[in-house]
């Protein structure tokens, strides 16, 4: 029997999208300080929605957090960061989820919506996400690797990083919605909201600083990567995180191909530590045993004890 792996929106003809590699122009003080980041104080801390209609699940998740209006004010400029790492099943954010978020932002009156990516048009075409971007009429900004496209963001009190190299383009927007897929990672075992932020940091910087030279694979090198991820997350704070946990790989991550499991969940919230702890449990892992989550908790980026988090679980 045929299975579809969540590419129901995929149409193989490559979308031809207006792409611009843009230098930052409108400088703001940094999304970490954006007042919008603090809006979500009531409602659920985390919404966990189970079902098969990924668009409806995404909308419900945001509704349980208080509605998109709490995160996206009228006339806001919104930037989205889905995961487009590969076109292998269970490795990229589903097109249905991206489309649902775009529609919600439009309904909230967003002035501009864009997707940012350090990867290539080929990645976007292969995952079917390019099709969504085109059909919804939003902008896809592919950031090339030139150093001028990234700004140095100091990391005060970083365990290992003293600075990040964040794409300038991020700072042209009022708020940032982080949209990872949670999955296995052969290096540090887990990908979630915090790991996804490496998609904003210069790939050269990731390569040279997050990963050890010559791809050393000892546990110290892996712990170093986890510390870098936690440090990076002190420099950039998403306004909202919406995680694809619908169909995901639990082996051979992050690129796959690997064993596909179908938790059929969309998870949303502001607290990255709590969300990643929740997502880790879906993969049979414990947040406190994953260095990136533990380090982020120690940096007070969020709550690792889920008994202290208001989690609403709903089936749609």
């Amino acid at each position: 029997m045929a299975s579809k792996f969540g590419r129901r929106e995929f149409i193989s003809k490559s979308a031809k999208i207006g792409v611009s590699a843009v230098l930052g122009k409108r400088l703001i003080s940094g999304l970490a300080d954006s007042p919008l980041a603090a809006l979500a104080k009531d409602g659920a801390d985390i919404a966990v929605i189970t079902g098969t209609d990924y668009a409806a699940m995404t909308a419900k998740a945001v509704e349980l957090l208080g509605g998109i209006g709490r995160f996206v004010p009228k006339n806001a400029r919104v930037v989205l960061l889905p995961n487009v790492q590969s076109k292998n099943p269970g490795t990229f954010t589903k097109p249905e989820i991206l489309r649902a978020v775009i529609k919600m932002c439009k309904n909230a009156g967003a002035k501009e919506i864009a997707c940012l990516s350090l990867l290539t048009q080929q990645h976007w075409d292969g995952t079917g996400l390019a099709q969504v971007v085109q059909e919804e009429g939003i902008v896809l900004k592919l950031i090339s690797s030139e150093a001028a496209n990234f700004r140095t963001v100091p990391i005060a009190g970083g365990s290992v990083l003293t600075e990040a190299k964040i794409t300038n383009e991020l700072y042209n927007y009022d708020l940032f919605i982080n949209m990872p897929i949670t999955k296995d990672h052969a290096g540090n075992k887990f990908t979630g909201t915090m790991k996804n932020l490496m998609g904003l940091n210069s790939r050269d910087h990731n390569r040279a600083n997050f990963h050890k030279p010559n791809w050393t694979t000892d546990p110290a090198a892996i712990e170093h990567l986890d510390k870098c991820i936690a440090d990076l997350n002190t420099a950039v704070k998403p306004t909202l995180n919406i995680v694809d946990a619908t169909e995901i790989i639990r082996t051979n991550g992050p690129m796959g191909p690997g064993e596909l499991i179908k938790p059929l969940k969309v998870i949303a919230g502001v607290d990255r530590v709590a969300i990643d702890t929740t997502c880790a449990s879906i993969l049979g892992l414990k947040g406190e045993e994953l260095a990136q989550i533990k380090k982020a908790y120690e940096k007070k980026l969020g709550e690792i004890d889920l008994t202290k988090v208001k989690i609403l679980e709903v089936k749609v």
Partner: protein, 304 residues
């Protein structure tokens, strides 16, 4: 056409002889020049073997450190097994279904087998393609000589799985190389022969993906394996010689005794001990010649 075939054959023969010469050159002690890389293009299936599938776009090629550009964030495990280069080609059928073919050249046949064993799941179906092949829901891995070949389908439809098998056989037919499995595989005890899967290990990253005993590289093995069966796993770590294995066994025993993660350590004989981990698993650690063997069982009683 004949000229093209001749040229292709000549290039292939040159590549093959260079590879074989390099394998030969690795045998004597002393300084060995890095072996030349194979021309992977020659192994990509092409008409008329494709039958309904067509290449889409040019192949992509990544060598050494550049693997990071292809497998962003997941390259380390390939590196641990001895990655040299990969070629990637997409194929499409008339209904726009896609299959991606990846041909990885690893350091040698043992490395290719190792990465094959790491990537293959326990639930796949074995096929007689290459030297071992496993078809999972939507992807197939096989290895042949120093090459690991992965084919990934758009989905798990019958058409895609059929296409995967067709392209795999077409690629296999173009690869005349063979190699031998790591000799360590032959030391797996008979009672573990029915393991759902046996993973050959070249380093601690592979091991930690199966079971993380300690948050550092305690075992420091030269090569290893993990055989998974029901609720128990057998690990065998091999060392350069019996002396090194004995010294490491002593260090391992001390580490288990000191670690708050392990309890109830008791020596059974001079060369083995048992312990219990935080999850209630029972571990038996044994020194056997140049190997250390660990049996990890979820049940309370280990078979004697």
């Amino acid at each position: 056409m004949k000229g093209r075939l001749f040229l292709g054959g000549a290039i292939f023969a040159l590549g093959l002889s260079a590879y074989l010469a390099a394998e030969e050159a690795q045998k004597p002690a002393g300084i060995v020049p890095p072996p030349p890389q194979l021309n992977l293009l020659q192994f990509l299936p092409a008409a008329p073997d494709l039958r309904g599938w067509q290449p889409k776009g040019p192949p992509q090629h990544y060598k050494g450190e550049d693997l990071f550009l292809y497998i962003d964030g997941g390259a380390e495990i390939y590196r641990e097994y001895g990655f040299k280069q990969v070629i990637v080609q997409d194929y499409r059928d008339a209904n726009d279904r896609s299959i991606t073919l990846e041909i990885f050249e690893m350091a040698n046949a043992e490395s290719a087998y190792g990465m094959f064993s790491f990537k293959s799941g326990a639930k796949g179906i074995s096929y007689s393609i290459g030297q071992d092949a496993r078809l999972e829901d939507y992807y197939l891995n096989f290895w042949k000589g120093p090459l690991l070949i992965t084919l990934i389908g758009f989905d798990a439809s019958a058409e895609c799985r059929e296409g995967i098998l067709r392209l795999a056989r077409a690629a296999e037919a173009r690869i005349p190389l063979t190699g031998t499995r790591p000799s360590l595989i032959s030391v797996v005890p008979k009672e573990w022969a029915d393991s759902a899967r046996i993973i050959y290990l070249k380093g601690v990253l592979g091991l930690n993906n199966i079971h993380a005993f300690f948050p550092y590289d305690l075992f420091r093995f030269k090569e290893g394996l993990a055989a998974e069966r029901n609720s128990s796993t057998l690990f065998i770590f091999r060392y350069a010689n019996t002396e090194e294995a004995a010294a490491r066994f002593s260090e391992i025993k001390k580490a288990f005794a000191k670690s708050p993660s392990y309890k109830n350590l008791k020596s059974l004989k001079a060369n083995d001990f048992e312990s219990t981990d935080a999850q209630g698993n029972i571990l038996r650690v044994e020194l056997q010649g140049d190997c250390i063997r660990i049996t990890l069982a979820k049940s309370a009683v280990l078979k004697k």
